[in-house]
């Protein structure tokens, strides 16, 4: 496939892999976190770790929208559908996230009277808006999730809904901010003593998120925390090239914000999208992230001017936090302190068919990626 295969070329990959092996100092270890689920997926899907030397380790970060969505927020959506007879529209991965009472949106859907309420998968916020326009008697709530990439489309439908005076449409907003999560990881209190804290040597920076926010918001990572960041595209060669750039920064003792994804990311980002988001959303004082806890200024809420289309205001919803299953290690895995296989539920009680934690739900989640693509590495397999 043109314009895609070029970024998956095996020969180039071996070349970059050889350069990483050549330049990585055998006397030390390198631990880099790829923040985005998209990178986690690319690394697992293409077997990138097989091309890295043993002393370069990739740690999966929390940049998977479904994975950081706390149970309490899914519960809100389920209650809306079951008790208030609304039709919830959301992205596919969200449907399977385990919620309270053994439910998920998918399981709740099976219990609904479809004449009144429903839970539907959509590919875009615009699909949810279109449904509300098409069926005025149906109360539609778009369960909006995601980082800065999916925020502008949500802002757009909110603006459209207001322009149209659409009375049967609202948004349950769960948009979260990448820099806040990176800050939380760098400040993370160690889970089980100081040793548990991850020693990160740098970050593979977000791809699509950075197209919107630009590279400037990561300055604090280098400035305050002296960690390098290399913004990288989602193709496997992008990831490999960024790892090589990180190794070079570490070797040189540099901590800079570098941009491998220059074909899409600028320093300032997409100013139009930023203005649109600013027009519709404002910072939330605090938002609970799964695995990272409640973080100040880490998420967006809908501005009061749009309150009529804000499901939280419209339906008077209150958030109630719900603790994760006590054996679930999603939290420590999302912070990079543990690997999926370290969790005793992994692959036994918790599988893609029966996910207990959110990291097992989305294919971008660290546990699902390891289960689906990498679990053979945990077990020695007889050679062919």
């Amino acid at each position: 496939m043109k314009y895609v295969d070029e970024f998956r070329d095996g020969e180039l990959a071996r070349g970059i892999g050889a350069a990483i092996a050549r330049e990585a100092d055998p006397a030390r270890h390198y631990a880099f976190m790829e923040f985005c689920g998209g990178h986690t997926h690319a690394i697992s899907r293409y077997g990138v770790v097989d091309l890295l030397p043993a002393n370069v380790r990739m740690i999966h970060g929390p940049g998977c929208p479904v994975c950081v969505l706390p149970v309490g927020r899914i519960d809100m959506a389920i209650r809306l559908a079951m008790e208030r007879a609304v039709t919830i529209c959301t992205y596919g991965d969200c449907l399977r996230v385990p919620a309270s009472g053994g439910l998920s949106l998918l399981k709740a859907r099976a219990r609904l009277d479809k004449n009144r309420a429903d839970i539907r998968m959509v590919y875009s916020a615009a699909d949810a808006l279109a449904l509300a326009q098409r069926e005025p008697q149906r109360e539609v709530v778009f369960l909006a999730i995601g980082f800065e990439t999916t925020t502008p489309p949500t802002a757009l439908v909110l603006r459209q809904a207001r322009a149209l005076g659409l009375a049967n449409f609202s948004v349950l907003c769960n948009h979260v901010l990448t820099p806040a999560a990176i800050r939380a990881i760098l400040h993370a209190p160690a889970g089980a003593g100081a040793d548990a804290r991850v020693k990160l040597d740098g970050f593979v920076g977000p791809a699509h998120v950075s197209t919107v926010i630009g590279s400037r918001p990561y300055d604090f990572v280098a400035g305050q925390h002296h960690k390098p960041v290399v913004i990288a595209g989602f193709e496997p060669l992008d990831v490999m090239q960024s790892i090589l750039m990180l190794v070079r920064q570490v070797n040189d003792g540099r901590a800079e914000i570098e941009n491998e994804f220059t074909r899409a990311v600028t320093r300032e980002g997409n100013l139009k999208a930023q203005a649109l988001v600013d027009e519709v959303f404002t910072l939330r004082d605090s938002y609970e992230w799964r695995g990272l806890g409640s973080l100040p200024d880490s998420a967006l809420r809908i501005r009061p001017e749009f309150a009529a289309w804000d499901a939280e205001a419209k339906f008077g919803l209150d958030y109630a936090p719900v603790p994760d299953h006590k054996s679930c290690e999603c939290g420590t895995i999302l912070r990079g302190e543990k690997r999926p296989a370290d969790c005793k539920l992994f692959g036994t009680a918790c599988t893609p068919e029966t996910p207990m934690g959110s990291c097992m739900v989305s294919s971008e989640g660290a546990c699902a990626a390891h289960y689906n693509y990498g679990r053979f590495r945990d077990i020695p397999v007889a050679a062919a």
Binding site: D9, G17, R45, G47, V48, F376, V381, A382
Partner: protein
């Protein structure tokens, strides 16, 4: 003298109503004027409750398979629910090594469904049945109230004859055996998705829906029956899931070369767009064959010589593996698992 004392079925603007399933005159008329006329064969023509069929040849065994079809949309590029209902069951028999002989068809119709569309489906089904040489010898029609069905559901059951020397089975793959596919993966699944999601491409993606028994016969003609270990048609769950089924049944692992698996560029592009993997998309006219290593070249040549196998490829080998993992070598040079499809909420595709 009048030849008819009934008004003919209005196949242009009529609709299915509850009478058509009541078992009375309306049912009889629908059967006579639509189904019996389209499928026209002596067994169906007898009009009895079942078909009386000849016994198989000495030494042959009977194979029976059934398949329910609920695809949505009912018409799609490359086929419709009628042709799919024939191909689905014929292929289930074919990959057992059997020569498909007879089909039954059970129609569940929704009240209000246009008779003209039903006729298109039945005509397509009859054409597929004739092309495959497998007659529909018995059938049934039921009508459900509006809102209780989705236009048309069709369940087909098939009977085939299995020659004595043939015994392919999912448990027979052995380390060293070679894995072949008869052509590009994911065409049917993506054709359906493209219609459902209104995706427009420069050139249309067509379902690969086809009857595979001719291709299977070509394979048996080219190599010793014993060398054909496993035959499968990778329908729901795609190539990935089917390979895992074979690995589990055979108690072995597999090593697959991702770059060797044929995928149409349009399907690949559409998958890229939707975040899907073509190896998990359904096929309705493709064969997976696991064959003995010494017969692999002959098998590949036989597949390629047949119109339905012109893009056949050798994609990997069976290996010893206590965990029955299917491993994939990526074009990038890495390794990963090619796992079972896990609960993706994909729409009705067959």
């Amino acid at each position: 003298m009048k030849t008819h004392y009934t008004r003919p079925l209005d196949l242009r603007s009529g609709r299915v109503d509850m009478n058509h399933g009541a078992g009375g005159r309306a049912t009889a008329q629908l059967v006579a004027e639509l189904f019996a006329r389209a499928f026209d064969n002596p067994w169906l023509g007898q009009g009895d409750d079942g078909a009386v069929l000849p016994a198989p040849a000495p030494g042959e065994r009977l194979v029976m398979a059934t398949d329910g079809h609920v695809v949505s949309p009912l018409f799609f590029p490359g086929g419709d629910i009628g042709s799919l209902a024939v191909h689905g069951t014929v292929n289930d028999l074919a990959v057992m090594g059997a020569r498909p002989l007879y089909l039954s068809a059970s129609f569940i119709l929704e009240e209000g469904y246009p008779l003209a569309d039903l006729k298109r489906i039945v005509d397509s089904m009859a054409a597929a049945s004739r092309a495959a040489g497998v007659p529909v010898v018995t059938g049934d029609t039921k009508v459900v109230e509006q809102g209780k069905g989705d236009g048309v559901f069709i369940a087909t059951t098939g009977i085939g004859a299995l020659p004595a020397e043939r015994s392919p089975g999912g448990a027979r793959a052995r380390p060293g055996d070679v894995v072949l596919v008869s052509g590009s993966m994911g065409d049917h699944g993506m054709a359906i998705l493209a219609v459902r999601e209104s995706l427009a491409f420069d050139s249309e993606i067509r379902s690969d829906s086809a009857a595979l028994h001719g291709l299977v016969e070509a394979l048996y003609a080219a190599l010793p029956a014993e060398a054909i270990r496993v035959l499968r048609d990778p329908t729901r769950g795609g190539l990935a899931t089917t390979l895992n089924e074979i690995a589990r049944q055979s108690g072995a692992g597999m090593r697959i070369e991702e770059a060797a698996v044929p995928v149409h560029p349009q399907v690949e592009a559409a998958c890229e767009l939707l975040g899907l993997d073509p190896l998990y998309l359904a096929n309705e006219g493709k064969l997976i064959a696991v064959v003995a290593p010494e017969s692999a070249d002959a098998a590949l040549a036989a597949l390629r010589a047949h119109p339905l196998g012109s893009a056949a490829a050798r994609i990997g080998t069976v290996v010893e593996d206590a965990h029955h993992f299917v491993q994939l070598a990526t074009p990038l040079g890495g390794q990963r698992m090619l796992d079972w499809l896990s609960g993706e909420p994909l729409p009705r595709i067959c």
